[in-house]
Structures are given as structure tokens and as C-alpha cells.
């Protein structure tokens, strides 16, 4: 990136709320049904029908507001956003405009260099989704699928607090983590349950005024978000350095070409003619409802990570990894509870290491782990009591992952129990010393590096089962004598 320019980025994230029915009708919200089978008369915008607000959608919005320390508006207003489009049945979208349900709040993001910063949120408001226009396989016509019309969305709007594509991606990840953590959104980006618009501008470093921004629409992966913003920052700097002006416009990111292109300019933008929806009364939220929702809020990711650091003695980085999702944190704590509080570091190393790698390799979520928390704890217990070494444990873990049984069954079946009998180990060591007189002489003459060679030979003869600490100690003693 060119020096002398500071990017300024704000995000608008649309999270589909995990309700069973739509925000203003009783139709189901499940994904993947045959076109137009989940759209009732209200979703179709039939003459005479009226919207009725889904109380569960309100509770989920309140849940989000409480999780980010926002204020929950005791009175908020639904407005109509008017524009014509074939997949917008009523000719308007019901949204919140001047008075959103969630106001303010903030979130901490962590950066790769270990530093962190706070991103402020402007607001989060409830609205309904539109349907889908299908332009393929209709022989020059367009198909309309209104299954998605009326699906509840929470639009989460940040302040322009981010200064790089990486920060923006970190923020988007953090919101993604949070909405799943508190159970308000499944976070499925392929199905469009979680998508993002990015507002990007640049300004001369040190300036306090905002430059003209462009909005990049419908980014549905973290990588695309980062790529699109990087491209857009470079594009804007290029324009400005060539003496041009940035045009306020909406742009689309094309992942195949890795670039953004103009969709429509401000002049072409609709005048949405927002006004309060007279079909819906102002949304009133009582203190009692807020208290009720608050009582069901789980321990949040930050608090949980801090507790893991304080109670279990984990490092901050380890704790952050373990709280990437609530399911992972639950898994870890279940392992810890079973293996005992003294072994937190061991448990963290294994969950973040072998387990994470295995899940990643098989593209599985933690909920589908082939080794459950109790089973992993069983393995860690054998490491802790020195029945097996860490190295052997990896072999046992792979066997467990392959479904070959519990740690103890595998250790017994394969005879992997560690040799801790000193006389047995001494016998092996004597054998090794006798078989390698040259190396012994060199070692004794000061070539310390050869120590590893002797350890390797002993381990080879014990098939890796020699207790490493004991082997080291006995070897050192015998070689010195």
C-alpha cells in the first residue's frame, strides 16, 4: 500500500436471525425448500394482508444488543423503504430507519501482531429480507423465488473505525463468532445467512476528515472481504494520486478477477422515501424483557477467555483460540474437567494442536469430532501418568480418530505402555554403549551433540516406549561413568 494514505472502513453486516418463522408472517424460514413453497400470502404481498412482528426476532436482536453492551431502545420504529424490484413483493422493505432497536455498543478485535483495538457499533436494526431473482434456465425470462422474502435479518452497522482490510476481516470474524456464540444466527455464509457490505474511503494520513466512500456490496466470505477492500483501497489511492476524484457509488467485487467494479452511482440511487410503517405499532421493549433475555445470555467469548487465563493458567493466545466458538470452548472445558485442573496446558495444547489439525484435515466442525471430550481426556490422563509419551500419544490419537477404541484399549492392544523399569532401560543402554564404542569415545572427548544419537538408538530398541526423561537421565549417567 502506498504511504501517506489512511484507509477508513466501516461494515454493514446482515445476519439472518435463527427464528423458525419469518419476521412478519408464520411461513417457515428453512433453507433449500423448492421455490415459492415457503411463502404465504403475507410474504407474497397479497392485497389486504398485514404484517405481524415475530417476538422471537425481537428477543434475538435484544440478545445481540446486550452482548455488545449497546443500549436497547425502549421504543423503536419500523419504517418502509420504498423501491420497485420483482423480488420485493410489496414494493417496499420493512426495516428500521430513524429509531433502531439496538443503539451503540462496541467490540474488541485482536490483530495478528497480538495488539487489539475497539470497534464501535453505530446500531443494529431488524428488517425483512427480499426474495431471489433467478436469471438462469428461464429462456430469456427471470424466475422469482420468494422463499427468502420476509426472513428476519439483523443489520449490524459499525462506525468507520477500521484502518485496514485485516482489521475489517478481524471485525467481521468477531461478529461472526459472536452471533453464533449467542445463538442468534447460524453464520452460514454459503447459504447467505451472514453477509457483509463494506464502506471504504481513504484520506491523507493525519487528516481528520473522511474521504468520499464507496460501498462494496454482498461480500460473503472473510477472504473476499479482505481482497475486495485491499483492491478498493489501492484503486482509490490510484485515482487520487492521479489527481482524480472518488465518486460515491455502489461497487461489486468480482472474485474471479479479484477487483471491484461500479454497480450504480449516487445519482442513480433510489430515493427510498422512508416513512414509519402504519401497519406496525412502534416496537416497545420492557425492562422485564431485557432482564429476561440478559438472564439467558451465555458467558461471552472475551469473558470466557479471560476466565481460562485466570483459572486455568492458559496463555492469552491459547485462550483466544479455544474460545473461537462456544462449542469448542465447551469441548475444552469438558476435557479439562475430566482430566483434572492441573493439566490445563496439556489439554489446551492437544485441543489446539492434534484435535484442531484432525478436524481441519477432515473438514469437520468440533460438534462432529471423532474423538469426544471424554475420550480425549482418557488419552491425556495416560500422558499425565506417564503410561505413554507425548509422541506415542499422537499415534494413539490417530488410532482413536480412526475408531479403533479408547486410549487404554489401544495402548494395551498395541503394547505401547512406556518402559519405566530402570533395570530394563539400563540393559538397553548398556547394549547401545557396547555396540557403538566409536561414538562413545567421541562423546566422551566432548562431542555433546552425539547425545541425541544415543537417545535415538535407545528409543529405537524400545520401539519408542522408553520413558524419555528416564532414558535421558540414565544415559547421561552411564556415558559419564
Amino acid at each position: 500500500m502506498s504511504g501517506g494514505w489512511e484507509p477508513v472502513i466501516g461494515l454493514e453486516i446482515h445476519a439472518q436471525l435463527a427464528t423458525r418463522s419469518k419476521i412478519f408472517s408464520g411461513a417457515a424460514t428453512a433453507y433449500g425448500a423448492a421455490p415459492n413453497t415457503q411463502a404465504c400470502l403475507v410474504d407474497l404481498g397479497y392485497p389486504g394482508v398485514l404484517p405481524v412482528l415475530n417476538a422471537e426476532a425481537v428477543r434475538l436482536a435484544v440478545r445481540f444488543g446486550l452482548a455488545i453492551g449497546a443500549s436497547i431502545a425502549s421504543r423503536s420504529v419500523f419504517a418502509r423503504k420504498n423501491y420497485f424490484y420483482p423480488d420485493l413483493p410489496k414494493g417496499y422493505q420493512i426495516s428500521q430507519y430513524e429509531l433502531p432497536v439496538v443503539q451503540g455498543g462496541s467490540l474488541r478485535i485482536e490483530l495478528d501482531d497480538g495488539s487489539s483495538r475497539t470497534v464501535r457499533l453505530t446500531r443494529a436494526h431488524l428488517e425483512e429480507d427480499a426474495g431471489k431473482s433467478l436469471h438462469e434456465n428461464f429462456h430469456g425470462l427471470s424466475g422469482i423465488d420468494l422463499n427468502r422474502a420476509g426472513t428476519p435479518l439483523l443489520e449490524i452497522v459499525s462506525e468507520p473505525d477500521m484502518r485496514s482490510a485485516k482489521e475489517a476481516a478481524a471485525y467481521m470474524r468477531r461478529i461472526h463468532q459472536l452471533v453464533r456464540w449467542i445463538g442468534i444466527c447460524d453464520g452460514n455464509m454459503q447459504e447467505g445467512s451472514f453477509r457483509c457490505d463494506a464502506n471504504v474511503s481513504v484520506r491523507p494520513a493525519g487528516s481528520t476528515q473522511l474521504g468520499t466512500r464507496t460501498e462494496i456490496k454482498n461480500l460473503n466470505s472473510f477472504r473476499f472481504l479482505e481482497r475486495a477492500i485491499l483492491f478498493e483501497i489501492d484503486r482509490q489511492i490510484g485515482v487520487l494520486e492521479d489527481g482524480g476524484r472518488i465518486v460515491q457509488e455502489t461497487r461489486l467485487y468480482d472474485p474471479d478477477r479479484d477487483q471491484t467494479r461500479s454497480m450504480r452511482s449516487k445519482e442513480e440511487a433510489n430515493d427510498y422515501r422512508y416513512f414509519p410503517d402504519p401497519d406496525l405499532l412502534p416496537l416497545e421493549i420492557s425492562e422485564a424483557l431485557i432482564a429476561e433475555v440478559r438472564a439467558t445470555l451465555p458467558e461471552l467469548p472475551d469473558a470466557r477467555a479471560q476466565r481460562l487465563v485466570a483459572e486455568a493458567g492458559l496463555g492469552a493466545g491459547e485462550a483466544t483460540l479455544l474460545t473461537a466458538s462456544r462449542e469448542l470452548a465447551d469441548y475444552f472445558e469438558a476435557v479439562l474437567a475430566a482430566v483434572g485442573p492441573g493439566h490445563a496446558r496439556l489439554a489446551a495444547t492437544w485441543v489446539n494442536g492434534e484435535l484442531a489439525a484432525a478436524l481441519n484435515r477432515d473438514a469437520l466442525g468440533i460438534e462432529a469430532a471423532r474423538v469426544d471430550a471424554q475420550a480425549l481426556a482418557g488419552l491425556l490422563a495416560r500422558i499425565a501418568d506417564q503410561t505413554i509419551s507425548g509422541k506415542i500419544a499422537k499415534e494413539v490419537f490417530e488410532a482413536m480418530w480412526a475408531g479403533e477404541g479408547s486410549a487404554d484399549q489401544i495402548i494395551d492392544r498395541k503394547g505401547l505402555r512406556q518402559i519405566t523399569d530402570s533395570s530394563a532401560l539400563e540393559q538397553v543402554i548398556d547394549q547401545v554403549i557396547a555396540a557403538n564404542p566409536g561414538q562413545v569415545a567421541e562423546y566422551r572427548a566432548g562431542k555433546d551433540k552425539l547425545f541425541g544419537f544415543f537417545v535415538g538408538q535407545v528409543m529405537k530398541l524400545t520401539a519408542g516406549k522408553g520413558n524419555p526423561a528416564q532414558v535421558n537421565e540414565l544415559l547421561r549417567r552411564k556415558l559419564a561413568s
Binding site: G48, L50, V52, I144
Partner: protein, 491 residues
């Protein structure tokens, strides 16, 4: 053949005593429609088969000793209410081919109460009009003078009841659309408080003003029918979750001690002298019945017409956006692009008055004009509502004219929308404030009926109906009938 002069209460009694049958009443109603609607054009759709089948079902229930106080009585629905399996046109080319897949709550509740629907009545297109001349299906004629308008927008319902085609018909009232045609047609028209009757299934014109009600021959009949259609509906978020009082039980209460407010603003220069004279006579009747006539002021009444003609078109411009030719209704076959399809479908499907209001509404909501028009209108609306609320601290009901003049000639005001809009000058404030109002006949000027309007506080329907009923007990204007029009089939 004469129309049936019996009240709904009398018809219901005769049905329960089995001295008449629903089939007999419904067949008589259908016969009068067949004979006289050629001259009146009060109906858009008549449904003889469904009506006779429903009448037979009602008779079967009555024969088993079942059924309620309205079972078997014929009724008609304004064509703004969705009726399952029956054309629901809103008197627009846009919906001329629309068969509703569901029943409006009002339709459902009245059917459940045993009323038998004989057809759908004509109206101004999308309820936008005060003369019934904006209908795609042609104007309705006033039974008192076929060259005159019956008023609008519920003009078909008003003419049908006035001519004795049905004992009662539903209507909707956004700025006077029940009370004004009732006044011009010499019948009783009752609009309950906003929120009292569900709007579900009633095709929206201006959502914050629209309210369903009834056009009937008397306040007593109106009370009976409204009791059956009112009450909370979970499908309408703006419907009031309040119990519906037994209006009928309150009707007999004497007027002694009732305080009736008369605002000088209602007796302005715009009020026809003949109408003013009839109204003063009506007030004298109320005074003699024991009511106390009190002066009250509604200082912001003059703001109601301009306020209304911002709020109502604003909401209408958005409510009517769904008529885009995509899913139902008229779709232009001449369009080559999506945008052209929208433009042509709407241009062809909507009449001139509807297009005028959509454009007005779009304008007042636009960036740069919203604050000057829409927000100002909301403020004015609050002032008007506050005037009425304050007045009701002092009086039980407010009395005044329903319209400035008796029925005007068809074509007389069609070239001057503002003159047409001013016809609603006395009725609009009631909608802006969301309070109940009724128009009852109170005499004639040059052979044309005049209406007395009675207005109550929010959810104070009982007081309005009580005063109206007591007035009707002391007068017989509501029993006057126009001569039958010339018989003849519909053109």
C-alpha cells in the same frame, strides 16, 4: 314489488320464529338487485349461487334452533374486502381479474355470525374518491335522484341500502367514505374507532386512517352488525386488544344528562343554508330529548383537509406499490423491459385519481420534501386529534353536519379535484383522530337527504350509537325511502 322495510332486528326475529326463511330474504334481495341495479350500478359482482347456498345453510341451522341474532340476514360487502373465491376488484382495472384466495376478517366474522353475502358493491377505485365516479365499473347513481352521486367511496353500499336491495352493507371510511355516502343517500353510516375492526383482508388505501364499518337503515341495525365484526384480531397489529361492549344494550339509555358539543367551526360559510337549517332542527330534537347542547371549539379543524391530502396519499403511494403486474392483477402485454412493464401496467391499471394520489404521495415522501409536507402533516394531525380529545373532556359526543351540501350531480366536480376533496371537510378530522363517527338522516333539502354527524371519543362507540338511536326513536327521517328506480337489466 317493494323493498323490505323491516329492520335487521325484525328480520332476525322473523327468521328465528320461522315466519320467513333466509332463502326467502336472500331471493328477494337478489330479485331487487336483478331488477334495479341496472339503473343504480351499486354492485360489481353478484353471487346468487353462493348466496342461496349460504341461505339454505342458515335455514338449516335455524331449523335446528341454532344460529345467532343475525343468522340468515342478507348483506353485501364493499368490493374492497377480500372474499375467498370471489372477484375482489377494489373497482379497479388493476384487480378486475383478481380472485381472492382468502376472506377478510370482517367477511369471515360476519359469515360466522350467519349473515349471507349476496355480492360485492361498487366503490371509488381503491376507495379514492367522494362521488363513486372513479370506479372502473362506472359511477353509482343516487336512488333519490339518478342524475346525482350517492357519494363515495362506499357509494355502492350506500345506494344498495337506500334502494332496499340489502338491509345493510359493509363499507370502509378513510376520510368519510362511509358517513358521506350515507348522508347523501339518506341512510345511517357508522365508522367505529380506528383499531376497533380488523383491517386484515381490507385492501389498504391509507393504513393509519382506514377503518371498516357499516351502512344500514338505522343506528340499531348498525350496532347489531358492528358488534359482530368488531374486536381484536391477532392478524392486524393495529387492531385494539379491548373487549367490545354490547352496543345494543346501551341504545335505550335516555339522553337526559348527555352533553352534546357543537363546534362553531362546523357551521362555517361553506355549509349550505338548507343543510344548516336541518341540522339546527336536529339539535333542537336532541335538546328536547334531554341532552345539553354545549359549545366546543375545534380550532385546528381547518387543517384537516390539507393534512389528510398529505397523509393519505403518502401511505397510498406505498400501499399501492404491490400492484406491479408481477404476481397478480393487470400486467401490460406491451412492455419490452422490466421498467416498462412496471410503468405500463400501472399506467393502464390505475385510473386518473389513483395515479394523482400516488404521485402526490410519492412527492411528499421524497427527500427534500418529507420534512416540509409529511412531517408537518403529522404535527397538524396531532393538533387536530388533541382538539377532539380536549373537547371530549367536556362533552359525550360532538354533533355537526356530515357534508357541506346534499348530493351533487354526477360530473359536477370531476374536473376539480379540490372541490371534490372539500366535500369531506367535516368528516376527515374524525379519521385523523381515529375516533368513531356516525351519519344519520335528519331531513331533506329540495328532496335530497341531509346527514347529521355524531362523533365520539376513541372507543366510545356506545355513546355515539346511543345518541343516534335516541334521535331515530324521536324522528322518522331514517324510514323515508326513495321511489324504486326504473327496472331494467344491467347494461
Amino acid at each position: 314489488m317493494q323493498g323490505d322495510d323491516r329492520s335487521i332486528a325484525e328480520l332476525a326475529r322473523a327468521l328465528r320464529e320461522r315466519s320467513t326463511s333466509s332463502r326467502e330474504l336472500v331471493a328477494a334481495s337478489l330479485a331487487r338487485i336483478e331488477r334495479f341495479d341496472g339503473a343504480l350500478n351499486a354492485f360489481i359482482t353478484v353471487t346468487p349461487e353462493q348466496a342461496l347456498a349460504a341461505a339454505d345453510a342458515a335455514d338449516a341451522r335455524l331449523a335446528r334452533g341454532e344460529g345467532g341474532p343475525l343468522t340468515g340476514v342478507p348483506i353485501a360487502h364493499k368490493d374492497i374486502f377480500c372474499t375467498r373465491g370471489v372477484a375482489t376488484t377494489c373497482a379497479s382495472k388493476m384487480l378486475a381479474n383478481f380472485i381472492s384466495p382468502y376472506d377478510a376478517t370482517v367477511v369471515e366474522r360476519l359469515a360466522a355470525a350467519g349473515l349471507v353475502c349476496v355480492g360485492k358493491t361498487n366503490m371509488d377505485e381503491f376507495a379514492m374518491g367522494s362521488s363513486n365516479e372513479t370506479s372502473f365499473f362506472g359511477p353509482v347513481r343516487n336512488p333519490w335522484d339518478l342524475e346525482r352521486s350517492p357519494g363515495g367511496s362506499s357509494g355502492g353500499s350506500a345506494a344498495a341500502v337506500a334502494a332496499g336491495l340489502v338491509p345493510a352493507a359493509t363499507g370502509t371510511d378513510t376520510g368519510g367514505s362511509i358517513r358521506q355516502p350515507a348522508a347523501l343517500s339518506g341512510i345511517t353510516g357508522f365508522k367505529p374507532s380506528y383499531g376497533r375492526v380488523s383491517r386484515y383482508g381490507m385492501i389498504a388505501f391509507a393504513s393509519s386512517l382506514d377503518q371498516a364499518g357499516i351502512l344500514a337503515r338505522s343506528a340499531e341495525d348498525a350496532a347489531l352488525v358492528v358488534e359482530a365484526m368488531a374486536g381484536f384480531d391477532p392478524r392486524d397489529s393495529t387492531s385494539a386488544d379491548l373487549p367490545v361492549p354490547r352496543y345494543v344494550a346501551e341504545l335505550g339509555r335516555p339522553l337526559a344528562g348527555r352533553r352534546i358539543g357543537v363546534p362553531p367551526e362546523f357551521f362555517d360559510a361553506g355549509l349550505d343554508a338548507g343543510c344548516a337549517a336541518r341540522l339546527r332542527e336536529a339539535l333542537e330534537v336532541l335538546r328536547q330529548l334531554g341532552a345539553e347542547i354545549v359549545d366546543v371549539s375545534l380550532p385546528h379543524l381547518g387543517l384537516s383537509v390539507p393534512t389528510y391530502y398529505i397523509v393519505a396519499p403518502a401511505e397510498a403511494s406505498s400501499n399501492l406499490a404491490r400492484f406491479d403486474g408481477v404476481r397478480f392483477g393487470h400486467r401490460s402485454t406491451a412492455a419490452g423491459s422490466l421498467e416498462e412493464m412496471y410503468k405500463r401496467s400501472r399506467q393502464e391499471g390505475f385510473g386518473a385519481e389513483v395515479r394523482r394520489r400516488i404521485m402526490t404521495g410519492t412527492y411528499v415522501l421524497s427527500t427534500g420534501y418529507y420534512d416540509a409536507y409529511y412531517l408537518q402533516a403529522q404535527k397538524a394531525r396531532k393538533l387536530i386529534a388533541e382538539d377532539l380529545r380536549r373537547a371530549f373532556d367536556r362533552v359525550d359526543v360532538i354533533a355537526g353536519p356530515t357534508t357541506p351540501t346534499p348530493a351533487f350531480r354526477l360530473g359536477e366536480k370531476t374536473d376539480d379535484p379540490v372541490q371534490m376533496y372539500l366535500n369531506d371537510i367535516y368528516t376527515i378530522a374524525v379519521n385523523l383522530a381515529g375516533v368513531p363517527g356516525i351519519s344519520v338522516p335528519c331531513g331533506f333539502v329540495d328532496g335530497l337527504p341531509v346527514g347529521l354527524q355524531l362523533i365520539g371519543p376513541a372507543f366510545g362507540e356506545a355513546a355515539v350509537l346511543n345518541v343516534a338511536h335516541q334521535y331515530q326513536c324521536a324522528t322518522d327521517w331514517h324510514r323515508r325511502r326513495p321511489a324504486d328506480p326504473p327496472a331494467g337489466a344491467k347494461r
